[in-house]
């Protein structure tokens, strides 16, 4: 299919680009491993002082860490590099060439740049999720597991939608190149269950910058904390937010008039 052919071409181009900086990729992977060690060490310090964190056990926090790392990888592999490229292209007008292509502009600016070595991080994250699930003793029902997986994907879709809205704002305010800093700043709050945070912080990362919807909520489904209607609600919200974001993007594109004209 058309889209898949394009994706695999992008992938190949990005692999070629990155092969020029092999040592960099290796160092970055080692850094990722170091932070993984740091994160596991910090969890072991927490659980050497307590049996549960707000009712959550060690296995659940390891799974949460895996989901958090998955979201983080989405950011680092696609969102940050493409934002940088996009911001520059609005400022210098090279977005013209993207808009002229016979493919969805949103698709091109989302996947043009891929940090390929981050696939390693995806593997680490999946390892953590499986490891955490085993630690919890595999008590989850198939339905809980299925909603966990669906909500993880839909949570990432919500973050992606928010990203589209944030960068589309650049069409109105060209100098708004801090557009994704707020997303990045609150990422760290996703490492722990949002239920332990004070009310205002929980509201902030659930409704304003919905990091918790992509990290805590899937875990709540896994623990059986969510009623079926809540799961369906979150899935509905993610579909709606994606549609709204795509509409907002089209609306923003109409504002764009190039940099020189």
């Amino acid at each position: 299919m058309h889209i898949f052919k394009l994706l695999s071409t992008f992938f190949k181009v990005n692999v070629q680009q990155e092969l020029a900086y092999r040592a960099d990729a290796v160092v970055n992977m080692l850094m990722s491993l170091m932070w993984l060690g740091w994160e596991l060490l910090s969890l072991s310090i927490i659980f050497s002082n307590t049996a549960t964190l707000g009712g959550w056990g060690p296995g659940e926090l390891v799974t949460l860490l895996g989901v958090w790392r998955l979201v983080n990888t989405l950011m680092a592999a696609l969102i940050w590099p493409n934002t940088e490229k996009f911001n520059n292209s609005v400022r210098d007008g090279s977005l013209d060439y993207t808009l002229l292509q016979p493919v969805s502009s949103l698709f091109l600016i989302s996947f043009g740049r891929m940090v390929v070595w981050r696939l390693f991080d995806v593997l680490l994250a999946l390892g953590l999720i499986i490891g955490g699930l085993t630690m919890s003793g595999g008590s989850a029902t198939p339905l809980q597991l299925a909603s966990f997986m669906l909500l993880t994907i839909s949570g990432m879709m919500i973050i992606y939608s928010l990203w589209i809205v944030l960068i589309a704002v650049t069409f109105w305010f060209v100098k708004f190149d801090n557009n994704v800093t707020i997303l990045q700043a609150l990422m760290d709050a996703g490492r722990y269950p949002a239920t332990v945070y004070p009310f205002w912080l929980r509201m902030l990362i659930t409704f304003v910058i919905p990091i918790a919807v992509a990290t805590t909520v899937p875990l709540q489904a896994l623990r059986g904390d969510l009623a079926p209607w809540q799961t369906l609600l979150f899935l509905g919200v993610s579909a709606v937010s994606l549609l709204v974001a795509m509409q907002f993007w089209r609306f923003g594109i109409r504002r764009y008039s190039g940099a020189s004209s």
Partner: protein
């Protein structure tokens, strides 16, 4: 000499003020982790009454004080200098009639700090209302003693940051080394967890390493958690580490500048 520093201050203050929106963003970014750790540890304390003798209020006062101390003692040298060594623009700094690091870079750190601190204060007051800490254990004597502890702590942190940045003279890139330094500092300096909750052996090691001298020590000093003997020991360690980092900095700087080949020039 004083006039040079005055001019450098004016220059960097104007520069920092230019980027005040970025400063605010940076502040928000920096604020999230301590607040998250605060929430994690108070949750643990609330579920079981206390954590090895530390109550919820102990964690709240600890982390609120941490925001102030970390703001005063942390440095941004790696972020403002490493890329200049990497791309060769550092050559321009070398021909100035004042030490590039102890002059411009230091002043840049200080102006950033003053601006940042001004922005932190109103946020800190809001957090005070939100968390309602009980600071009754803080005495004027502790606050006065904390001043030299914070100045010495900043000196150590500044020199360590400068040493790490100077490694760029050999390796060009210092990002990975700096990340590693940050990770160790977060665990052994008292950021992720008050040091009293580390395993005993780790506590012993952390006590004699420099990381806690610019974070945990000033905080505990202000909060009145230290005995006179511990205060004496920590001040002694601060002077010792300041001397050691100074010697190391001189060594790295002298040899590094000679190796510097000004990439792109």
């Amino acid at each position: 000499m004083l006039r040079i520093y005055q001019r450098l201050w004016a220059l960097h203050w104007a520069e920092s003020w230019q980027y005040r929106a970025n400063t605010l963003m940076y502040l928000l970014y920096w604020l999230v982790s301590p607040v998250v750790y605060l929430a994690v540890w108070t949750t643990v304390a609330n579920t079981q009454g206390d954590v090895r003798g530390l109550t919820a209020n102990d964690f709240i006062t600890y982390y609120l004080m941490l925001l102030i101390v970390d703001n005063l003692t942390s440095t941004i040298t790696v972020h403002i200098l490493a890329y200049r060594i990497q791309d060769g623009t550092f050559s321009g700094d070398l021909v100035r009639p004042v030490h590039p690091i102890l002059g411009g870079v230091l002043m840049n750190n200080l102006s950033f700090k003053v601006l940042n601190f001004g922005a932190l204060l109103p946020i800190w007051l809001v957090l005070l209302v939100l968390f309602r800490p009980d600071f009754s254990a803080v005495t004027w004597l502790n606050l006065v003693l904390a001043l030299p502890a914070i100045v010495l702590g900043f000196g150590i942190a500044f020199l360590l940051g400068a040493i790490i940045t100077c490694i760029a003279f050999w390796t060009t890139r210092v990002h990975a080394i700096n990340e590693f330094y940050n990770a160790v500092s977060l665990l052994l300096g008292g950021m992720f967890v008050p040091l009293a909750l580390l395993p005993p052996l780790a506590q012993q090691i952390a006590q004699f390493l420099p990381f806690q001298l610019y974070l945990s020590f000033p905080i505990l000093l202000i909060l009145g958690k230290l005995t006179p003997e511990q205060i004496g020991l920590n001040f002694g360690l601060q002077v010792l580490w300041l001397g050691l980092t100074w010697l190391l900095f001189e060594l790295v700087w002298r040899n590094g500048v000679r190796r510097f080949s000004a990439v792109g020039a």
